[in-house]
């Protein structure tokens, strides 16, 4: 098997492992805590309730009803903020780990073409896709570009498979 294709597979494998590592760290520091479970359940319940209320409200709804919705939105915003604070612990730990890991992988794969792309990326993406690579062939793919693509695809799918992705209602109300 050629070195380049082996590198491609290795990077996909690294991406799976780092996604699992990130979820593992988050589980240890955050997901298994009672505070997080309580807050998450509260946020999901409130989000669904608020969404249902907003669907049924009409233009002619009374001021009192609108005020009630505003109060519920405020309560939900506070709970979302508390939830983010709880997750902050794991974000720091993951950030620290990943900075070290990325430094290591970048030096391992420095200057190596890890895949060939069947197209030439747009010029402002070439800075990433052709990072630290010799030559002018812009279809050469660097480690960081492939790793980013893998992470974007694999991490969310792993979160969904493990049942750790935030609910859609909660995500929508948090915006």
């Amino acid at each position: 098997m050629s070195t380049m294709f082996a590198d491609t597979l290795l990077i996909v494998f690294i991406s799976v492992c780092t996604a699992l590592l990130a979820e593992g760290i988050t589980w240890v520091l955050v997901y298994r805590t009672d505070k997080y479970k309580r807050l998450k359940a509260e946020v999901e319940k409130q989000s669904k309730k608020l969404e249902k209320k907003k669907e049924t409200i009409t233009e002619s709804a009374g001021r009192q009803q609108k005020k009630k919705i505003e109060r519920q939105e405020e309560k939900l915003k506070n709970n979302n903020r508390d939830l983010s604070m709880v997750r902050m612990k794991s974000m720091f730990a993951i950030g620290f780990c990943f900075t070290a890991l990325m430094g290591m992988f970048n030096s391992i794969f420095d200057g190596r073409v890890v895949a060939k792309l069947p197209f030439t990326p747009l010029s402002y993406i070439q800075g990433l896709s052709h990072r630290n690579l010799l030559g002018d062939d812009t279809t050469d793919c660097s480690f960081i570009f492939l790793y980013i693509l893998c992470t974007m695809s694999i991490r969310q799918n792993i979160q969904k498979i493990l049942g750790l992705a935030p609910s859609r209602a909660a995500t929508k109300q948090a915006k």
Binding site: M4, T8, L149, C150, Q156, N157, A165
Partner: protein, 137 residues
């Protein structure tokens, strides 16, 4: 064919937030299935997109389909197939889910990234195989 729906099934519990029970997949190909849980239906759309991304990524990488034509083709097929599925086959009311755009957006970026990984991987494997055959030692 009768346009009416069958009697409603008892709600099948989801696994938490995104994974689907086997029983959900049995509803997927039934045009008269009832989708009481919106999240359940959106998860089906999401996973269908990922499957399409892997399949097209492998085909596009093996052919290979070069240039932005391949990417544009993926976007059209991904959006088009799912649109035909939920609009024509299942005949669901898109407004219940926030409109056609919300259904089209569901899982699109993740599937696009997955498609890119699959196409790059398969193209790399095919490209090197081609080089080996063109330049025998």
């Amino acid at each position: 064919m009768s346009g009416g729906r069958r009697k409603e099934e008892p709600p099948q519990p989801l696994l938490a937030n995104g994974a689907l029970k086997v029983s959900v997949w049995s509803k997927v190909l039934r045009s008269d299935a009832a989708w009481e849980d919106k999240d359940e239906f959106l998860d089906v759309i999401y996973w269908f997109r990922q499957i399409i991304a892997v399949v097209l990524g492998v085909i596009w990488g093996v052919l290979p389909l070069r240039g932005f034509l391949g990417i544009a083709g993926f976007c059209l097929i991904n959006a088009g197939v799912l649109y035909l599925y939920f609009s024509n086959y299942l005949q669901i009311d898109e407004e219940e889910y926030g409109g056609t755009w919300e259904l089209t957006k569901e899982g699109f970026m993740t599937s696009f990234a997955l498609f890119m990984v699959c196409v790059a991987g398969n193209f790399t494997a095919g490209h090197l195989d081609h080089l080996l055959h063109c330049h025998p030692l």
